[in-house]
Amino acid sequence: MERIPILKMGKVLLVTVQVDMHDRLAMTLQDDLTARIVKDHAHGVLIDISSLEVVDSFIGRMIGNIANMARVLDADTVVVGMRPAVAITLVELGLSLPGVRTALNVDKGVEMLKGSMEQRASANGHATR
């Protein structure tokens, strides 16, 4: 059974969505990701959708779900690489991905996550790496 690979970069989990996902694959991704956040004590999740040519309400809900679940598990989510045509379509569709932060690319997404992880660390009184 195919799965979308989840890479670990320090305290951040990186998911690159490359295929035109069908529902089962999306559900499996949500499950796998939740498990990994806990297992790896991840503080951040980066979802790279730069390969997605279409984002419909289903994918939108999936992204929202992932962000919500991650938050519950004390991790931040950033979605990166949304294509202009996809963004224009989502605006027309009326889908706004509330509660999901976005960045233009992986580099900027990592920067964003580092920023919020540092904030959280200092709030918790821990020294940051």
């Binding site: 949304m82 202009p84 963004a87 605006v91």
Partner: protein
């Protein structure tokens, strides 16, 4: 058809004579454009066409048949090259139609007894008319494609997206915006945002006299799309009249950062991107 084959054979047999008469007709026609095409090129084009024509006619007199594909492909080339050179469709079609005179003359010679004269003339006229109209159609299509391409280039030239600084783009819009132009411009802005990784895009409308609801909506949609992608837009240069229009139209600009001038917007952008400009250089001493 027997008569048609005979006709085809006669054309091939009298090839040089027909060609000469046809070229002479063209050279004395009022539609001659030696400024666009040299006489030698005209002769070559005519020769090639006549060869293809007579060859195809042996098979059938129906220009829609596969036997005529090579001839029509050649005509497509002719139409394209003449369109590029600036010939009008009328002039290009006359290239074909002027062949009638020579061919009719031949039909007359071949049918001295008059028996099949009408059939041959009819076959020839139908064929030539069809091919002539075909070139007009192609000509039109080519011109349309050229115009479309030029329009696209003009549009791209008139809406440059400028990189003001690292992470900061500016789109100075000038002139009246219509819905179509605005859409294209906004799409290209979003593309540039991705290409340059710019997190702030300043859309300056100082040079835009009026904005209608559709355009305002496109602007807002673009700002929303940019935000979804991970970038922010600042709209600058809103004239008093436009501000009034926007309020009257009930367009909601609450979520959008607006600044009076491009300069103000640039300053905000520099601050937001954490740009480090350093201290001013000390003036040089002699």
């Amino acid at each position: 058809m027997e008569s048609q084959n005979k006709l085809a054979e006669s054309i091939r047999g009298h090839h040089e004579g027909i060609l000469k008469e046809w070229v002479d007709t063209q050279l004395t026609a009022p539609t001659l454009r030696l400024d666009l095409m040299k006489e030698s090129e005209l002769r070559d084009e005519s020769r090639e066409f006549l060869t293809l024509f007579s060859h195809a006619l042996i098979g059938t007199s129906d220009p829609g048949a596969p036997a005529w594909k090579a001839t029509k492909d050649f005509l497509a080339q002719v139409a394209k090259s003449r369109a590029l050179r600036g010939f009008s469709p009328y002039e290009t079609a006359t290239f074909i139609f002027s062949l009638k005179q020579a061919l009719f003359g031949l039909a007359g010679t071949v049918n001295k007894d008059g028996k099949n004269l009408f059939t041959d003339l009819w076959t020839l006229t139908q064929l030539i008319d069809s091919l002539g109209l075909y070139t007009i159609e192609l000509h039109q299509k080519n011109r349309e494609e050229i115009i479309q391409r030029q329009q696209q280039e003009l549009l791209e030239l008139s809406t440059p997206v400028v990189q003001l600084y690292e992470n900061i783009l500016a789109l100075p819009l000038i002139g009246t915006l219509d819905s179509a132009r605005t859409q294209i411009v906004m799409e290209s802005l979003l593309e540039r945002i991705v290409e340059t990784g710019s997190i702030i895009a300043i859309i300056d409308i100082t040079g835009v006299p009026t904005v209608d609801t559709l355009v305002a909506q496109h602007l807002l949609k673009t700002v929303a799309a940019a935000r979804l992608m991970g970038a922010d837009c600042i709209i600058s240069g809103i004239r008093p009249q436009i501000a009034q229009t926007i309020v009257h139209l009930g367009v909601n600009l609450n979520d959008v950062i607006t600044k009076a001038t491009l300069a103000d917007a640039f300053l905000v952008a520099l601050q937001r991107t954490g740009a480090n400009l350093g201290k001013p250089l000390a003036p040089k001493k002699d």
